[in-house]
């Protein structure tokens, strides 16, 4: 112990001794005694047996209320929904189609995707197609021209759970219910309804209402609709076809003009290097050949 500590401890000890010697007011003690003598003992508690009986009765009643109301439905619906999340494996071959639902109920295809373990083919409705395959990203423009980037990161599929619960948008509250006798295309399916509230980036509380339709045996999602206050409703349909190479093949014409940009990271670095203040880099147009542009 250091000298300073020892000195402080001595000061503390002396102070404690002094505090202990501090007398209490005799008037206060007299008054306190008088008040204590006037006080009446509290009503004796019930006997142990009765006390435990009351506790047991209260606990039983509480459990009955819980079982009668929310938890069983909630627990089973949530458990079943978790099984759907678990079965939504991004490594298996999935084919999904994403729609925008217009206010009149019309579904408009926005994106069609084949995905399997880092590989993906994205087909934007009426626009480009993009293929992620073995480190290559190939863009087939609607004009028929092709760009290729090498050493790209593999495709990462957004799972159903990630789509429902985006990071930073965890629900304030939610109610999950399940209908085990819903019908879809003539078959019996599980239909989950998830209704709750989230806080948006501006701190406003928004209501969301999602539905998930899942195969009751494989637990895989078959359809979901996501509706969030203030945003257009979207829907996704899933199916799980057997593998075919054509799912990951772009329909590139034989005489299509192809630009190979090489390593994507190097290409991006080169673009950034040539970025000048006040203007955007000149985008390499398909057919202009090199990506090794110099000033």
């Amino acid at each position: 112990m250091s000298h300073e500590h020892s000195k402080s401890d001595e000061v503390i000890a002396r102070a404690m001794d002094e505090f202990r010697r501090e007398p209490a007011s005799s008037d206060a003690i007299r008054h306190c005694t008088a008040m204590a003598l006037q006080a009446q003992p509290a009503q004796p508690r019930h006997g142990q047996g009765l006390r435990w009986s009351v506790r047991l009765a209260v606990a039983t009643a509480a459990a009955a209320v819980c079982f009668a109301l929310l938890p069983p439905r909630q627990a089973s619906a949530l458990d079943a929904l978790r099984k759907v999340f678990a079965a939504d494996d991004p490594d298996i071959l999935q084919h999904w189609m994403q729609y925008t639902i217009h206010p009149d109920g019309r579904r408009e295809l926005f994106l069609e995707v084949y995905t399997m373990k880092g590989r993906a083919r994205l087909m934007f409705s009426g626009d480009n197609q993009i293929l992620y395959d073995h480190g290559d990203k190939t863009i087939l423009h609607s004009s028929g021209e092709v760009e290729i980037f090498r050493n790209c990161k593999p495709w990462r599929t957004v799972t159903l759970k990630q789509a429902l619960y985006q990071p930073g948008h965890e629900p304030l509250d939610q109610t999950v219910t399940v209908d085990h006798s819903a019908r879809l295309d003539g078959r019996t399916v599980d239909r989950f309804t998830i209704i709750g509230h989230i806080v948006d980036g501006l701190g406003k509380v928004l209501t969301f209402s999602d539905t998930v339709i899942a195969d009751p045996i494989a637990n895989r999602p078959l359809r979901s609709t996501l509706e969030e206050e203030g945003f257009p409703e979207t829907a996704i349909d899933w199916d799980y076809p057997s593998y075919s190479p054509k799912f990951f093949t772009l329909p590139i014409a034989a005489n299509a003009r192809v630009v190979d940009h090489g390593d994507e990271k190097a290409w991006r670095a080169n673009v950034n290097k040539n970025l000048t203040s006040g203007s955007l880099p000149a985008a390499p147009l398909p057919g202009q050949g090199t990506t090794k542009r110099t000033r």
Partner: protein, 183 residues
């Protein structure tokens, strides 16, 4: 007389037992509450309330801890209620402590009193029970309703904080007594 017998007699309203018990225990409960509340009148009120509660609930003393430990628990509970009620009417307690006359005579006691007032409440409780009330660490833990390790840790941190405050304050006090204000 055993603790259980004392509690039984208090419960039955034996005036002699009540008087003796209060005469024996009032000073230590008052001084504990005095350093917890940092206010003499509040400490007197709480001490009185503690003994009234003891009179009312002595029948529930089960003998698991000593009567003294049980009494301290009652006092700490009263202090906790007081703290909660007091949040709505916050006062500058440190200033009041410094102004109260006759509270501590020596500069050491003043310095320690003011340093204690700056400790977090839980640490102050543990330290006072251990050092002022001279309880064992297991009695401190039982009184505070926490594990022994927690009680030790709180008392240790309190002592470390007091040491550092006193080292700084003692130097100031040596050269310029009036400079020792609670900052």
């Amino acid at each position: 007389m055993t603790d259980a017998e004392t509690a039984r007699r208090i419960h039955e309203g034996d005036p002699e037992a009540i008087r003796d018990f209060i005469a024996l225990r009032y000073p230590e409960i008052y001084r504990l509450l005095r350093h917890l509340t940092l206010h003499a009148e509040d400490a007197e009120d709480l001490t009185q309330q503690t003994f009234v509660k003891v009179r009312q609930f002595a029948g529930r003393y089960n003998g698991r801890a000593s009567l003294r430990t049980w009494l301290h628990r009652v006092a700490l509970r009263e202090f906790t209620h007081w703290k909660r009620a007091r949040r709505k009417t916050y006062r500058l307690t440190e200033q009041e402590t410094a102004e109260e006359p006759g509270y501590a005579a020596s500069l050491d006691a003043i310095a320690v009193g003011q340093a204690l007032a700056r400790l977090p409440a839980r640490q102050r409780e543990a330290f006072l029970l251990l050092e002022l009330q001279e309880m064992s660490i297991s009695e401190v833990a039982a009184t505070m309703g926490v594990p022994i390790g927690t009680a030790k840790s709180r008392a240790h941190h309190a002592r470390m904080a007091l040491r550092s405050m006193l080292q700084f304050g003692t130097e100031e006090l040596t050269h310029e007594p009036r400079a020792f204000e609670v900052r």
